[in-house]
Symmetry: C2
Subunit: 514 residues, 2 copies
């Protein structure tokens, strides 16, 4: 979820200062139009970690726009008046009217998260609070509100660094309290709760926008741009007709630093070393599958990646290690007629393996947010909702002890060209390269954004994406095999610890409501 | 929730047999069009109590339509194959393709309810299962499916009667098993779980249709009509354009027996008896409000009713009994400019009382599903979603120890005419009667349906509607006062038992995530 917000995004001061004037004019104009139209309110929620610059960013928004038509709400400790009413009362009384902008620094997410982290509530309580939040937001959107949800994130190291930096500076020292350090110590618990928040409540109509909070320039510029683009998109579509739901559009990082760029593609392995490791991990995989607890789990390995990234080769290195009766490889191409007559996840559900089996998908349900998005085969509303549908889908598998291992095989543009040309020269590989591959290559940048959004919105702790640097085939194949073994082993240990036994009747029955 | 499905609906055999031929032709035609168009599947879920005639009705649908294009799924005990996969797999594999009709006798609701009733899971588990069901259904609807959710209901007495009747008849004896009787004993637990199901998962896009299951003719005819109308509405709107979500339309009961008709309007009270009782209950109310636990709760009394039903008079009999500092009366008329600039529930949220207070709404948030629906001030999609928004709203109050007491003051058409004429004659009452009142009177039947749908969809065990027969003012006022006292007393007992004390800090914090 937070992958792209831990890359160390930065905007140079000179660039920042050059961008500001035009941005401020555009923001003021957009705000003016919202005010004049008075057809919908703008509700901005700013969530995230302590020290991630939430306050500073909100102050800037007030500075850059007309603060007379912005209401900013801190939402700290509730008053007695507020405690006397249902929790949402304080938010209802603070909602901006049509034409105005309301910024919430604390929101309906704040206390459910704090209560969960401090152990006052349990996972199920948090889930329920989040469902309520989602229902509230659906109502707001149905009533015409533009809802912009910003999440400012920091990695653990970044948070420590930020808090220390704030403390060191006499001008900002007051901002850091004992409470901040106490919360920093609970970083992992917060991160887990935050992931739950984002996974549950990032909807097609009101997706979370996750922004790295470390660099002030990057953060401010990104937030201001998201707000601007969201308002502009809403104005564009709302004009003259019944207010229509338009989600804030996703946009590429302003500093053009994306997840894929941070991969070290030069990692390589010699052929001899590869052979040795291959033997080792294939043996390990075979052994793991004969583990007595393996019959209570199953494995779904998903292979996605650039064209010619070596998915097929990696898959064969797995299948060679295991009994043909215990795996299936499902190559995903265009859907069949029967599949087109069903909801789009249907073609994947039908292939879910039984316990004790491995199912390998060569391309997968992620096609919806990759090729279908880039080629325009489905509408933005469709691929936007696909993120949460996919998360739901995978969460069901995970709850049922299906291990979901997702690989993105990444190669550089140059390496892809080399492989394409080689394929065209080699007669027995020529079938592998088509016109379509060349066409896809022209949309490289679109795919980059689609991949980064995909990872950001579907990499969960229960089913994380594994990025595989695949310029060197040997390196890639070993990384795939090794991580697969690691994850199966981890799952087996978990099963051993939980003492699971699906032959047990109450267990079976309970599973029917999962 | 089940009010209208316990009235003893009946359709005479002669009427039934007259209706059937045309209905069958229409059903076949509609099915044919769905098949030919092949643009969306029809998914029919049939839930409800044992003995409510689910099986018989489904058999009839198969008989009346072309069974080659209907797939009926029993979904009883899961197979080993199914147990090996996530719970939803069995439903995914059974989904009908576009153009076909799939009928599910057991559904994604069956096991979550059974597990809850048998104590294998808890309330929070059931809630989570229901949220998952809702997400699945949202996906199905987003993908274009027409989802028709039928709930066959029986009162406890009706269930017993049905089971006994089935047992008595040698031809149907096999249908009744030990399990049915065991489940009958858990009637209340099932009913509570069923209410939770319906409250959580009745959405604007896929509302539950609750049908009384006792009379075969009524049940069959109603189910067939709902299916027919839903398909017709969907075909109408879907033609030639992107499939658009159209919920099955609500319709009045086929035998024209509605909730309001079952009220005994002749109940009356003599003036002398009224005076005595008035004194008694006013004293009791005053006493209850001085109860030491009253400061931990608050009361919201909602008054809705026909024009001239005597809301004002009933309200005054309450307020006279209590300290003016502890209550507020909020008369709801057309929204102010400020209120129109906010989501529609905003104007009600702002008036929620503090602890220890009473707030009386003279008309309320139910305007959305009454006058706004009948007058067409908002679209069907808006008032359809209002039912669940209102249920959410009231559930928040209830969780926060706000007691919600809702009164529908009902008078007959004749009585209303008498009062209107009297008002016009009496000079100091003349201001009470306007052109609008006469206009509303012309829409009597529309209001009847709106009121019945409102009660069916928003009467929950936590905040039930109280129907007040108000032809006799004395009787009505006493019924209002007495039930108010009873409900406050019950709530106070509950608070005493739970030992609640909101000055307690962890309690306070926990409340922030409710």
């Amino acid at each position: 979820m937070f992958e792209s917000a831990e890359l160390g995004h930065k905007i140079k001061k000179s660039v920042y200062e050059k961008e500001i004037p035009a941005l401020r004019v555009a923001l003021l104009e957009a705000q003016g139009e919202v005010l004049q139209l008075a057809e919908f309110p703008v509700i901005i929620i700013v969530g995230g970690l302590d020290g991630s610059g939430r306050g500073a960013t909100v102050n800037l928004l007030n500075e850059w726009m007309d603060p007379r038509h912005i209401e900013t709400h801190g939402m700290g400790e509730p008053s007695d008046e507020e405690l006397d009413r249902p929790m949402m009362w304080r938010f209802w009384r603070a909602l901006p009217p049509k034409g105005k902008i309301g910024i919430f620094l604390g929101s309906w997410y704040t206390w459910p998260v704090l209560n969960r982290v401090s152990g006052i509530t349990k996972d199920a309580d948090l889930d329920q609070s989040l469902e309520r939040a989602k229902r509230l937001e659906k109502m707001l959107v149905d009533e015409g509100a533009l809802l912009i949800k910003l999440w400012l994130h920091l990695s653990r190291e970044q948070q420590e660094k930020r808090l220390k930096a704030l403390e060191k500076n006499p001008a900002t020292r007051w901002k850091v309290t004992q409470r901040d350090w106490k919360r920093y110590k609970a970083y992992d618990a917060f991160r887990a709760a935050h992931e739950t928040v984002i996974r549950h409540t990032s909807t097609a109509e009101a997706p979370w926008m996750i922004i790295e909070g470390e660099d002030d320039n990057y953060r401010n510029l990104t937030v201001a741009n998201i707000v601007l683009k969201a308002i502009q998109a809403r104005l564009e579509h709302g004009k003259g007709q019944t207010p229509k739901m338009i989600a804030p559009p996703l946009m590429p990082p302003l500093d053009n630093l994306h997840l894929l760029k941070t991969l070290n593609m030069d990692q390589a392995l010699e052929k001899a070393a590869f052979r040795k490791k291959l033997e080792k991990y294939q043996a390990r995989l075979g052994l793991l599958m004969r583990h007595p607890k393996f019959k209570y789990m199953s494995v779904i390995a998903v292979f996605e990646g650039n064209d010619a990234a070596g998915k097929g080769g990696s898959i064969r290195r797995i299948t060679r290690a295991i009994d043909a009766r215990s795996y299936k490889v499902i190559p995903i191409a265009a859907p069949t007629e029967e599949e087109r007559a069903q909801p789009y996840l249907w073609r994947f559900w039908r292939h879910l393996p039984r316990k004790g089996r491995i199912c390998i998908f060569d391309r997968s349900w992620y096609g919806r947010v990759l090729v279908e998005r880039v080629e325009g085969f489905c509408s933005p509303a469709d691929w936007m909702r696909a993120y949460s549908e996919i998360n739901d889908f995978e969460a069901q598998m995970v709850r049922h002890n299906l291990l979901v291992v997702k690989y993105w095989l990444a190669i550089s543009q140059d390496e892809q060209l080399r492989r394409f040309e080689e394929r065209e020269k080699t007669c027995f590989k020529r079938f592998k390269i088509t016109e379509e591959d060349w066409r896809n290559r022209e949309k490289w940048e679109d795919y980059v954004q689609a991949v980064c959004d995909m990872v950001d919105r579907t990499s969960t702790s229960a089913a994380p994406w594994i990025m595989v640097e695949a310029n060197n085939k040997y390196f890639a194949r070993i990384k795939v095999l090794k991580t697969l073994c690691d994850q199966i082993e981890q799952k087996l240990k978990q099963l051993e610890a939980s003492g699971i036994d699906y032959l047990d009747k109450p267990q079976k029955r309970r599973a029917l409501s999962l």
